[in-house]
């Protein structure tokens, strides 16, 4: 369970480090559940301005503006990029990426169905993430040996 938003809290980084260590030891992670501010981990539009980006690379190449930034390769100081690191984990280890729908709506993280339902201008849920309820969280808790929480800042 991840309660903190990427880049502004420690939770995402710690959770990502921990997940990688868990996989390295040969364990399985059924699902990662993003709740509270953690829902922002599922935002397709989150970027870390201090990280390296294609945008900066093109500025270096002498382009003052960049109309088509192309694929994003943002990197945080610790090497973790979000939401890409979660998407990589899902692709590599088939771990579900579940986002509490209540938290997601509050943070503006919505899929196409929610965009239509709430007449919002655009969908922002990153690929590979699913909006889900707390019931799904408990289904996952029940079938897991361990639940690890990466909490929110006090």
């Amino acid at each position: 369970m991840v309660y903190g938003s990427p880049y502004s809290a420690e939770a995402s980084n710690s959770a990502c480090h921990f997940a990688n260590a868990v996989f390295k030891k040969g364990h399985r992670i059924n699902s990662i559940f993003f709740m509270h501010d953690g829902a922002l981990n599922a935002s397709a539009t989150v970027r870390n301005p201090q990280g390296k980006s294609n945008n900066q690379a093109s500025l270096k190449a002498g382009q003052a503006t960049n109309d088509s930034p192309g694929p994003q390769t943002h990197q945080s100081t610790c090497g973790h990029t979000f939401p890409h690191q979660w998407q990589r984990i899902r692709a590599q280890y088939n771990t579900e990426l579940l986002v509490c729908i209540g938290s997601a709506l509050r943070q503006g993280v919505i899929n196409e169905a929610e965009r239509e339902r709430h007449t919002a201008p655009c969908a922002t849920l990153a690929d590979g993430f699913e909006l889900s309820g707390l019931g799904t969280l408990f289904e996952s808790v029940i079938r897991s040996d361990r639940v690890i929480t990466f909490g929110a800042a006090p």
């Binding site: 709740m35 209540g102 808790v141 897991s144 361990r146």
Partner: protein, 121 residues
């Protein structure tokens, strides 16, 4: 579904100050649907959630104290308040909902030790 799990829900935050406190209640209610062995422990600032007589409505917030009082109706009857956290905050038994049993840190440790999972909010 696999066997019945012993789950301790740990509530550490005051009501309304953080949305996580409401999330904790929603998660507890969701868990009750799965017929698990649930214990709910209010500790640290979480003890404030059990105070009676507060009026969230005056701040334009939905009061969910009613739902806390109704937890036993959802089959959740193991509700505990950390007596040390409460006394540190000047809270006496007459100040809080009667649904919670007052327990010590030693008893909380025992609950954790016999739980399969601890969900902390």
């Amino acid at each position: 579904m696999s066997h019945r799990r012993r789950i301790a829900v740990l509530i550490t935050r005051a009501a309304y100050g953080s949305n996580l406190s409401k999330g904790a209640l929603e998660a507890t209610l969701a868990a009750s649907i799965f017929d698990q062995d649930l214990s709910v422990v209010f500790t640290e600032d979480g003890v404030y959630q059990l105070l009676v007589g507060e009026a969230a409505e005056t701040l334009g917030l939905a009061n969910y104290r009613v739902q806390l009082a109704d937890l036993p109706d959802y089959g959740i009857d193991k509700i505990y308040i950390d007596s040390e956290s409460a006394s540190q905050r000047g809270i006496s038994p007459q100040d809080v909902l009667s649904v919670a049993d007052w327990i010590s840190h030693t008893q909380i440790s025992e609950i954790f030790n016999r739980s399969d999972h601890i969900l902390s909010f």
